[in-house]
């Protein structure tokens, strides 16, 4: 898909901006803190109605404002030209697709894929399991309504079971009642995560090989908290763990404690890989995510590169450049113009939340 235009109102520090994109490569140029990433964040919001920087939508609405809005016109392989409008309030969000209100996330999620490359991605290797699970859930749920359904069922059943444990007087029969829905959903999650990580891992491996010339193979290893994708086995385990769960007042076993690990040459990248290797790993992960989206949906994702071109050394940059899909639209940000070998760009100057296209005729002042 291609983003043809993007309009923001009261989104973070952007009071109003209307960008018309032409061509395939667009560059947002400006000093730090001017609003470049905010625009990428808005573009990324189209995929899953979630920000890649925060889980708190309140932060997306500009100071002293009640509502923020994102409007985009997208050229889509399947749906043709589509207009998406999103309104964000402190207490919720509304979504329209071609003037029709969309109320079910499942009907929308992943239809408009974007992939963000950001310097914060290093946290996927180094940071907490929660960040990796968040990435994995989004990547898998966006392409598989069955995964989303299982995830929603599981999370709801888990919240209910934990609420029951928190009361401190959870009856066996009540716990069992919620375990009956929790376990099958959990087993489905474990199976889908296992196959998903396998497929993504293969692409990470080939992507990493293109980015680095070290012959060391990279891989993703699923580390399930409960390894058997079998509802009966998990049911038995939950039942056996009830006393301990009651003591801790929370559910201790299940896919909500899953993790996956990046390996380089069969050792944990978190502990042993160099900074450069870790950077290459997350780039390979994002490339794998883009390939996954395209393979599953037949829609080419828009690539959003937040300050990554400037951060890479020239060798790695040219490798990265040759590894990305050259049919995909790319919107990049940076504090200085990209190197000449990266082709021609449509350039927008960004200053204090305002965007102006370079070389475009200025509107006459009134």
């Amino acid at each position: 898909m291609r983003l043809r235009s993007l309009t923001l109102r009261h989104f973070r520090n952007v009071g109003f901006a209307a960008l018309e994109f032409s061509g395939r490569q667009h560059f947002l140029l400006g000093a730090n803190g001017q609003g470049k990433t905010n625009l990428l964040e808005a573009a990324g919001f189209l995929t899953a109605l979630r920000s890649f920087r925060t889980s708190d939508n309140k932060l997306l609405v500009g100071h002293t404002q009640h509502t923020a809005a994102i409007a985009a016109v997208v050229e889509h392989e399947r749906q043709g030209e589509t207009k998406i409008t999103i309104k964000l309030r402190h207490d919720g969000k509304e979504l329209w697709c071609d003037q029709a209100r969309v109320t079910k996330l499942a009907e929308y999620l992943g239809k408009f894929p974007t992939v963000v490359f950001s310097s914060q991605d290093l946290q996927l290797v180094r940071g907490s399991p929660a960040g990796r699970r968040r990435w994995l859930d989004l990547t898998l749920a966006a392409m598989d309504p069955g995964y989303l359904r299982a995830l929603q069922m599981f999370s709801r059943a888990l919240t209910e079971r934990n609420a029951l444990l928190k009361t401190g007087r959870a009856g066996e029969t009540q716990l069992a009642a919620f375990e009956q829905t929790l376990a099958p959903a959990a087993a489905q999650l474990i199976a889908l995560r296992s196959s998903g990580i396998k497929a993504l891992g293969a692409t990470v491996k080939s992507g990493y090989a293109k980015l680095c010339d070290d012959a060391e193979p990279a891989s993703l290893v699923y580390e399930p908290n409960f390894a058997e994708a079998d509802a009966e086995a998990l049911l038995a385990r939950l039942e056996a763990g009830r006393a301990r769960d009651a003591q801790f007042r929370t559910t201790l076993v299940g896919p909500h404690r899953d993790d996956f690990q990046f390996n380089v040459h069969h050792t944990a990248a978190k502990d042993f890989a160099s900074e450069g290797q870790q950077r290459s790993l997350v780039l390979a992960l994002r490339l794998a995510q883009a390939a996954w989206f395209q393979e599953k949906s037949g829609v080419r994702p828009v690539l959003l590169a937040d300050d990554v071109l400037g951060e890479l050394d020239p060798v790695r940059r040219s490798r990265f450049w040759s590894a990305i899909d050259h049919e995909a639209q790319i919107i990049a940000t940076g504090t200085s113009l990209p190197a000449a070998e990266l082709g021609t760009w449509q350039i927008f100057d960004v200053a204090d939340g305002a965007f102006s296209e370079r070389g475009a005729p200025r509107e006459a002042a009134l």
């Binding site: 919240t159 209910e160 928190k166």
Partner: protein, 198 residues
């Protein structure tokens, strides 16, 4: 606005589905626009509050010991359809497809909302099964985590060891609706619940 008006509005606002604006509108309507109808409404409220109670057998609205459905001897009292709320019962009644009796739980298990088995109308259901005469329970509870958990609780705890057949209503396409407009979750359960067509 006057203190009495605000007090009324505050009470109206606590009713389900009413926000600040709508409660204000209703209060104005009652007091200023159509005050003549007010005594009748107050009388109706008082009478209903006095007369309406739960049916001791099924939990439906009743004015006697038993509700109209439980007292009706033409209905099959051995088949019991278990629902969450009275409006669910009314919806099924409207369909005209069911000639058995009902049992209203007045909710579903949800520890998040603080609803446990003690808050639900299980006691009367156990009594009904114990005294015999219940051959089948049809579970017409909602198809979400809490509804499913309540179904499991019923089968495991309420009916275990008792000779009762348990069925769950089907989930699938709306009648007269096309496949095209059904959401993916509905389609999935419709496919899972398919049956032989011969």
């Amino acid at each position: 606005m006057t203190p009495a008006f605000e007090k009324l509005q505050k009470h109206l606002k606590q009713l389900p589905g009413l926000g600040y604006r709508s409660s204000e509108r209703i209060a104005l309507h009652l007091l200023v626009e159509k005050p003549a109808q007010l005594p009748a409404l107050v009388a109706a409220l008082e009478e209903a509050a006095r007369a309406v109670r739960r049916c001791t057998r099924c939990g439906n609205l009743a004015e006697e010991e038993l509700c109209g459905l439980c007292a009706d001897e033409r209905r099959d009292q051995t088949v019991v359809c278990v629902v969450e709320h009275v409006p669910d019962l009314v919806a099924i009644e409207r369909s005209g497809a069911f000639r058995g009796s009902y049992h209203v739980l007045h909710g579903k298990l949800s520890p998040i909302q603080g609803v446990g088995p003690e808050q639900l109308n299980f006691g009367a259901l156990i009594d009904r099964i114990e005294t015999g005469g219940v051959g089948e329970l049809i579970l017409a509870l909602s198809n979400d985590v809490e509804g499913e958990a309540t179904c499991h609780y019923l089968t495991e705890y309420i009916t275990k060891g008792r000779d009762v057949k348990i069925t769950r209503i089907g989930f699938g396409l709306p009648s007269g609706g096309g496949v095209l407009y059904a959401d993916s979750v509905t389609l999935r359960s419709a496919l899972e619940g398919r049956r032989s067509f011969q």
